[in-house]
C-alpha cells in the first residue's frame, strides 16, 4: 500500500461523514431555497429569488439573534473568566477535580429539564416573589429578553469555563513569579502576562458559545414565551407550522452565510491579535 492510498483510506471515514451529513444536506437546502412553497406545504422545484426577497419579514428574528448571541457570549465570558481563573490558579489542587466536576454536573441533566426549573425561578412565584418581600413589587422576569439571556448564560457557561481553564492551567507559573520579582504589581502581571496568555482559551470559548447561540432555539422558546424570537425559532415555525420549506431554506442559508461571515471576521481579528505573539493562535 502506498503512502498515498493509506492517506486516502485514513481520510475516508471523515470525508464520507462530511459528504453525507454536511455537504449533501446543505446542497439540498440551497436547492430548496430557490424553490416555491407547494400548495399544501413542502416545496416545488423552481428557480426564483422570491424567498430571498422576502427575507426582511424575518428581520426581527435576525436582529434578536444578532443582539442576544454576542451579549450572551460576552456575559458568559465575564462570568466564566474569574471562575476559570480561580479554578486554574487560586484553588488548592486537591479540591480542583471536585470543583471541575461540579462545573460539569449540570450537563448530566437535560437542558430541557433545567430550563423548566428556570421557568419556575423566573416566574411569578420565584425570584419576583422573593423581591416582593424586599419591597420590589411587580417585577416581571419570565418571557422577557432578560430571561432568555439568563438561560443562555446559565446553559453555556461551562463551555466558556473549560477552554479558559485549560489555557490558564497551562500557563507557566514561573512567568508570574518573574513578573513579580521584576516589580510588577499583581494587576499589571494579570494584564500583561495572564490575560494575553489566556487569549487562546477566550477565543475558543467565545467561538464555541457564539456559534451555538446563533442556532439557539430551545431557550428562547421556553424562557421567552414565544415573544423573544431567534432565527432558530423562525426556522422551526417555517418547517413545522407554515410548512414553507422554500422560505425556510432561504432563511437557513442566510443564517449560515451570516455565521460564516461573522466567524471569518472574528478569526481574522483574533489571528491579527496573535500575530505579534507566536504563542497565541486560535484553538
Amino acid at each position: 500500500m502506498t503512502q498515498r492510498t493509506r492517506n486516502w483510506l485514513l481520510l475516508a471515514p471523515a470525508g464520507t461523514w462530511f459528504l453525507v451529513m454536511l455537504i449533501i444536506p446543505l446542497t439540498v437546502v440551497l436547492i430548496f431555497s430557490f424553490g416555491e412553497r407547494a400548495p399544501a406545504g413542502g416545496v416545488v422545484p423552481a428557480f426564483t429569488l422570491e424567498q430571498y426577497a422576502n427575507l426582511p419579514a424575518r428581520w426581527a428574528a435576525f436582529k434578536n439573534t444578532m443582539t442576544l448571541a454576542p451579549i450572551g457570549t460576552l456575559s458568559a465570558l465575564v462570568i466564566a473568566y474569574p471562575l476559570a481563573y480561580f479554578l486554574a490558579v487560586k484553588v488548592d489542587p486537591k479540591w480542583r477535580t471536585i470543583l471541575l466536576v461540579l462545573v460539569i454536573v449540570p450537563f448530566w441533566t437535560s437542558i430541557l429539564i433545567r430550563s423548566y426549573a428556570w421557568i419556575f425561578l423566573l416566574g411569578g412565584r420565584g425570584i419576583p416573589a422573593l423581591l416582593g418581600w424586599f419591597g420590589m413589587e411587580g417585577v416581571r422576569l419570565i418571557n422577557t429578553p432578560f430571561a432568555v439571556l439568563v438561560g443562555i448564560i446559565y446553559g453555556y457557561l461551562p463551555l466558556m469555563v473549560f477552554p479558559i481553564y485549560v489555557s490558564l492551567d497551562k500557563l507557566d507559573k514561573k512567568l508570574l513569579e518573574a513578573s513579580s520579582d521584576l516589580g510588577a504589581k499583581p494587576w499589571r502581571t494579570f494584564l500583561q502576562i495572564t490575560l494575553p496568555l489566556s487569549i487562546p482559551g477566550i477565543a475558543t470559548g467565545c467561538m464555541l458559545v457564539f456559534i451555538l447561540l446563533m442556532g439557539e432555539y430551545l431557550i428562547p422558546a421556553m424562557l421567552g414565551g414565544g415573544k423573544v424570537f431567534f432565527v432558530g425559532n423562525a426556522l422551526v415555525d417555517l418547517f413545522l407550522q407554515s410548512r414553507n420549506w422554500a422560505y425556510g431554506s432561504a432563511v437557513a442559508v442566510t443564517l449560515v452565510v451570516v455565521m460564516l461571515v461573522t466567524v471569518t471576521v472574528y478569526m481574522r481579528l483574533i489571528n491579527r491579535l496573535g500575530a505579534n505573539r507566536d504563542d497565541v493562535s486560535i484553538m
Binding site: A40, T109, G123
Partner: protein, 386 residues
C-alpha cells in the same frame, strides 16, 4: 433543532411524562418545541419483545404498534390492557400540532401505525395520498350509527371512510375571575380589549395559527376560518397591536395559569376542565362571537408498517368500556352514544364537556382551507417574529 431531542434520555422522558400526567406541565405545544415525540419513539422501541406474547384472538399482530397522538390524551392503563390482550406494545409519539403531523407525514417514513388527525385536516391527507381508507370489517367495535354525525362526518371523504371519531371539544378561553371582580368574560372582543388594558401582561394566545388567528377574526365578527385577505389584514393588525401586552404566545398555557402569572388564555375545553377542577375561580367560557369546535379521529397513515396492529388498536380503543376510561382520563367529550351512557353522571352533566346547545351553535369547525392557506401560515409566523 435535532439537538433538543438528543438531550432527552429515556429516564428523563419518563419523568417529564409523569409530570404531564399530573398536569403540572402541559400540552400540545410544549412537545412541539421540545422534540419529546422523538424521544418516546426511542423509549418505546427499546421495550417490545421483553415480554412474551400471549395468544390473541385476532391472530398474531406483531409485537408493537406506533401511535402518533396529542399529549394528555389517553388512559395509560388502556394501553397496558391492550398489550396484555394482544402482545403488542403501544409506542406513543406525542405531537404539538396538526401542522407538525402533516409536515412529518409529508416528509415521509414516519413509522406510525395510527395517528389522531383533527377533522379539518383529513381531506388534505386524502388529497396528498397520506391516509389509508379504513376496512370496517376489521373494526367490529365501530358502529357508525352510535356516533353523532357532526363529530363523525369529516372522517369520510367522497363516501370513503378514512377515520373514525375519537372525541371532540371546543376552543374558548380560560379566565381567572379573581382578577376581574369575580366576573368571567364572554366574548373575543372582550378578550383582546381587556388584554390591552386591565390584563396587560397577563394574557396568552396559542402558538397555533388556527385558533389565534381565528379568535382575532372573531373579534371583528368575521368567520373563524376566513382566508379573505382584507379580513386577515385586520386580524394581523389586531394581533400585532396586542402582542406587546401578551404574557406569552404559547400552547403550553396551563403552568402560567396555575401559578398566577397569567390570568387569561385561549384554551381547549379539556384544559379548561382540568384548570377549573383544580382552581374553581378559573372559568372556561366560549366566545359569544364564535370560535372553534373540533373533533379528533383515529386514522391509519399510508404505508403503516404494522397494519394489523393498527386495526387492533383502533378497534380496542373504540370499545365503549375502554373509551369511557379514556374520556375520564382526558376530559374531552365523546361523540359515541354507547360510551356516553357509561360515563359517570357528573361528567355527563358537566357544562365544560357538554355545553348548552345555544353556546355551541355559533362555533365553527376548522376548514381544510384554513389549514393549508399560505397567507394564514405566514401571518402567524410574521406575528411571532414581529
Amino acid at each position: 433543532m435535532t439537538k433538543d431531542s438528543d438531550y432527552i434520555s429515556k429516564k428523563k422522558f419518563m419523568e417529564v411524562l409523569g409530570r404531564y400526567r399530573k398536569g403540572s406541565i402541559t400540552r400540545r405545544h410544549f412537545l412541539n418545541v421540545t422534540g419529546l415525540g422523538a424521544a418516546t419513539a426511542v423509549m418505546g422501541a427499546a421495550m417490545p419483545g421483553l415480554r412474551p406474547s400471549p395468544a390473541f384472538a385476532g391472530g398474531n399482530i406483531g409485537d408493537r404498534v406506533v401511535l402518533a397522538t396529542w399529549p394528555n390524551y389517553h388512559d395509560p392503563s388502556n394501553f397496558e390492557a391492550f398489550t396484555e390482550a394482544t402482545g403488542a406494545h403501544v409506542q406513543v409519539n406525542v405531537f404539538g400540532s396538526n401542522e407538525e403531523m402533516l409536515a412529518k407525514l409529508q416528509a415521509g417514513a414516519t413509522g406510525w401505525d395510527v395517528y389522531v388527525p383533527t377533522n379539518y385536516t383529513i381531506s388534505t391527507y386524502v388529497d396528498e395520498g397520506l391516509i389509508e381508507p379504513l376496512d370496517t370489517s376489521k373494526l367490529s367495535n365501530y358502529d357508525a350509527s352510535a356516533f353523532d354525525a357532526r363529530y363523525a362526518e369529516a372522517g369520510s371523504v367522497d363516501g370513503t371512510l378514512y377515520a373514525v371519531p375519537k372525541d371532540w371539544g371546543s376552543t374558548g378561553m380560560a379566565v381567572n375571575t379573581a382578577h376581574n371582580d369575580g366576573k368571567p368574560i364572554s366574548s373575543w372582543k372582550e378578550f383582546f380589549d381587556i388584554s390591552r388594558d386591565k390584563f396587560s401582561g397577563r394574557s396568552m394566545v396559542h402558538d397555533y395559527q388556527l385558533t389565534t388567528i381565528g379568535s382575532a377574526l372573531n373579534y371583528f365578527g368575521y368567520s373563524f376560518n376566513s382566508v379573505d385577505e382584507a379580513e386577515l389584514a385586520d386580524a394581523e393588525k389586531l394581533l400585532i397591536d396586542v402582542k406587546p401586552h401578551l404574557f406569552a404566545i404559547t400552547s403550553d398555557y396551563q403552568p402560567s395559569m396555575r401559578n398566577g402569572d397569567a390570568w387569561l388564555t385561549i384554551c381547549w375545553s379539556g384544559d379548561g376542565k382540568q384548570l377549573n377542577t383544580d382552581i374553581p375561580e378559573i372559568h372556561y367560557v366560549l366566545g359569544a362571537e364564535g370560535g372553534e369546535i373540533w373533533s379528533d379521529y383515529y386514522a391509519i397513515p399510508k404505508g403503516a408498517p404494522h397494519s394489523d396492529a393498527a386495526y387492533a388498536l383502533i378497534n380496542f380503543l373504540l370499545d365503549p368500556t375502554v373509551n369511557a376510561k379514556e374520556v375520564v382520563a382526558h376530559g374531552y367529550p365523546t361523540a359515541d352514544a354507547r360510551t356516553f351512557a357509561l360515563l359517570p353522571d357528573e361528567l355527563k352533566n358537566d357544562p365544560i364537556l357538554f355545553p348548552a346547545q345555544e353556546l355551541l351553535s355559533p362555533l365553527e369547525f376548522g376548514a381544510a382551507a384554513t389549514l393549508t392557506d399560505p397567507n394564514r401560515a405566514e401571518l402567524m409566523a410574521r406575528f411571532k417574529s414581529a
